[in-house]
Symmetry: C2
Subunit: 477 residues, 2 copies
């Protein structure tokens, strides 16, 4: 490959931007050497890479405001970044952008148990929010699989969920307020540690906005008292459809488990080979967890067992103690690592009505045959948030494209049955062209106009969320 | 009083608008005779009245769209109206406006128990949503006091709560999607019967937007399985502060009652005189309700009792049966009617952190002495949503103004302790000038710009939510 010749005008422009950023930040907070910025060239959607012009790592809201003001004045696109764990390319740079990473903003600002909230800087990792309050018997509910690494900023950007969101809701249900810095550097204080808000409630539209409206620097989060206990059961079936019907019946019956996780045979096999959790050899497997006092747990599990038995499971395994409970979760929790060992894969994230599960699983099986690509299903079945993993060979020419085409077909299927394109991973670059499948032109236009208001020059997290064709006329020159 | 002379230009303009509305609606759906439009001159904030130019009662989304297009083209302000139960003047007309009432749009469009949602036209009353599903064991959770009359459209506009929102959340937590008609007649389909939404989530900002962004014609609502049972206890104290501290301790302990209602002595006395519920003669009274299976109820009530006893209550009364449970609720449920029997009152609606309850109650007592106006407190204490009722004499010159000044002081106090201006009644005209107490100029500006996007000519529900001074330059001429 020919090396591109450096363009003197681009070099001068970059030098000017870096100098202005260095003028408002400590020296160690501006990263601009080519070998250094490469660390920010991609997020967890590693098929796409592009080193940014520079990256900054501010420590305070005031520093974030200063950075954005500089970029606003210079017309430089800004890509906000939490921990870079996005599976949808939500933090993918463009070559002319500044990456604004919040990783150094990880402090706890205030903890208030009586009013049940914690206020943190947005770069704090999800798990360390719970870490800050668990010794006092509290926890922060949303628990994405990446919770050890992912930042609250990213959770808010993508409205992240997790295995336990069936009971506790996703980020938007646990977010009380944010400090948001707009592209021009203005600092907004939205929501707070109180119920409701007068006037227009901007918090809802900021949560899940994928860095399109501003940079969240601080967040007030609801914390909950830890339940007395929790217990999982494992239910094995000889057909996906039967497992799907069982999920649907559990939900219909009005029991509210904290989690209903689903794995199909390809996924069970891979996990078993990797984690040796002792899973049965079966077509489909559910892990259902309930929580509460021992009496509440017994009561709920009895009801779940009765429902499950009506579907003739191959096995119904209760966890008799903590160790058995851990083994039930072990395979599920290592699913993504296990799949990565045996194959390249693309992880989808569609949401469907729970009753459509059997139909959608059958159609995915048919699509798998049509495209000649295997699919492993592992997902949060209780709330219909599917994560089909399409297996492909990155070294085989055309396989990635085939995989992307099949992924798009599966997401179209989700929309057709009354669901939507994303549950918790966001649109990013991955699904931007599918937005037109979900939204009529007027519906999308309403969103674009809200984006116009917050970021008139379209400098924030460019080329994401919306189809490029739709936004071409709106973007900064 | 001199009768104003009819202005021929105004008469001609009215005739033109009415004719255009009649051209797009059935004859019985356009109300314009002066004696007829008077029915729409106020909502439940009856101190303010103004007959509208006309009122329309469409039956479908298409008719709503047609009405809005006519008004958009004519530059006529539109005031959307549910059942007219707003306590904040949210549906107060202006003389030049068309009232768009959704009362005839009260059908059920779809019920889906497996996926736990119901889709209704927005004019359906809150209670009749539950009515449509309760024989199948389900209910719709938000339960404002006016639930017999108030419409889902108004619940969405004000993000209404109710006694049981401590456990189930307010409207925004139970709303899955809406059909929204914009001022220019465009119909948007926002959210739906699935978790999460790709792109910008506009549902959050529409919920609670008080008719500023569009007219909601249909709503998809979450329905929940009815709990096995529920049981209230009544706890009486000899001081407000002690009752407040008890509430704070219950919340801190991590029990989650469905309701914690608070009444102080003036309210208890009025209710007792009116409803004869057999309430004890005390300074403050809590009604705490828990729900679940009999075992769960016993377990939760034992914990609540232990906490209450540490605060030396005058009485701790458990409901032994359904009849006693009804009597415990009887006084609370008749509170607003009871107060209305003995006095004119203004009902406030501030929200505060639960731990600030004792302090805020003491300060309200001090303000009551300073202003020489009695205050009765009855409110949803569990989530800090206060409803102080300021008693005044509507026939005494200056008393309403004094009452309004005191109300503003109490709401400022709520904001000072970290709370907010409204819990569930909205801003309306009542609190528009206090918005500047809650929001810095930049924060308010962000809201105004979102309003600009949805309603550029500022024709929707004019003169509400935002301070008139702030919005003067933005309104339609």
């Amino acid at each position: 490959m020919d090396m591109p010749q450096p363009d003197p005008a681009i070099i001068a422009r970059k030098a000017q931007i870096v100098a202005r950023l260095q003028a408002v930040l400590p020296a160690d907070a501006v990263i601009h050497e080519p070998h250094e910025v490469r660390a920010y060239e991609c997020d967890a959607l590693t098929a796409y890479r592009c080193p940014p012009l520079a990256a900054v790592l501010p420590r305070t809201t005031a520093e974030v405001s200063a950075v954005l003001r500089v970029c606003f004045e210079e017309g430089v696109p800004v890509v906000p970044r939490g921990s870079g764990t996005s599976l949808a390319g939500g933090a993918l740079p463009t070559a002319d952008c500044v990456i604004l990473g919040v990783a150094r903003m990880n402090g706890v600002i205030e903890t208030d148990y009586a009013n049940r909230f914690i206020r943190v800087q947005s770069g704090r990792t999800n798990l360390s929010v719970t870490g800050a309050v668990e010794s006092d018997g509290f926890f922060y509910a949303p628990d994405p699989s990446s919770q050890l690494a992912c930042a609250i900023a990213g959770n808010i950007a993508m409205n992240s969920g997790g295995a336990h969101c069936l009971k506790y809701g996703v980020t938007t249900n646990n977010l009380l307020g944010v400090t948001l810095v707009q592209m021009d550097g203005t600092v907004l204080d939205i929501g707070g540690a109180h119920m409701d808000a007068p006037g227009l409630d901007l918090l809802g539209v900021i949560c899940g906005s994928e860095g399109q409206l501003g940079v969240v620097t601080e967040a007030t989060l609801r914390i909950l008292p830890k339940p007395e206990g929790a217990r999982p059961v494992l239910i094995a079936f000889d057909a996906n459809e039967v497992a799907g019907a069982c999920v649907s019946d559990i939900i219909k019956a009005g029991v509210l488990p904290v989690a209903i996780e689903f794995m199909d045979r390809p996924c069970i096999r891979a996990c078993e080979a990797f984690a040796k959790a002792g899973y049965p050899d079966c077509e489909a497997l559910l892990i259902v967890e309930v929580e509460g006092s021992p009496a509440e747990i017994d009561e709920q599990l009895a009801l779940i067992k009765a429902i499950a038995l009506r579907h003739n499971p191959v096995e119904f395994r209760e966890a008799a103690d903590e160790d058995q409970a851990k083994r039930i979760w072990l395979g599920r929790k290592s699913a993504f690592g296990a799949m990565g060992q045996i194959n390249d894969y693309m992880c989808l994230d569609g949401t469907i009505p729970v009753t459509a599960l059997p139909f959608v699983l059958r159609r995915i099986g048919e699509l798998s045959k049509e495209y000649g690509l295997d699919v492993a299903n592992v997902f949060h079945a209780g709330d219909g948030n599917m994560h089909p993993l399409i297996l492909f060979d990155a070294n085989k020419p055309g396989d990635l494209e085939l995989c992307e085409a099949m992924g798009a077909d599966i997401l179209r299927l989700c929309v057709e049955v009354g669901g939507c394109l994303t549950g918790e991973h966001g649109v990013g670059i991955e699904k931007r062209d599918l937005m037109a499948v979900q939204f009529a032109a007027d519906d999308m236009e309403a969103q674009l106009r809200v984006k116009d208001v917050f970021d008139p020059a379209w400098l924030l997290n460019p080329a994401k969320v919306f189809p490029l064709g739709v936004t071409a006329g709106r973007r900064a020159a």
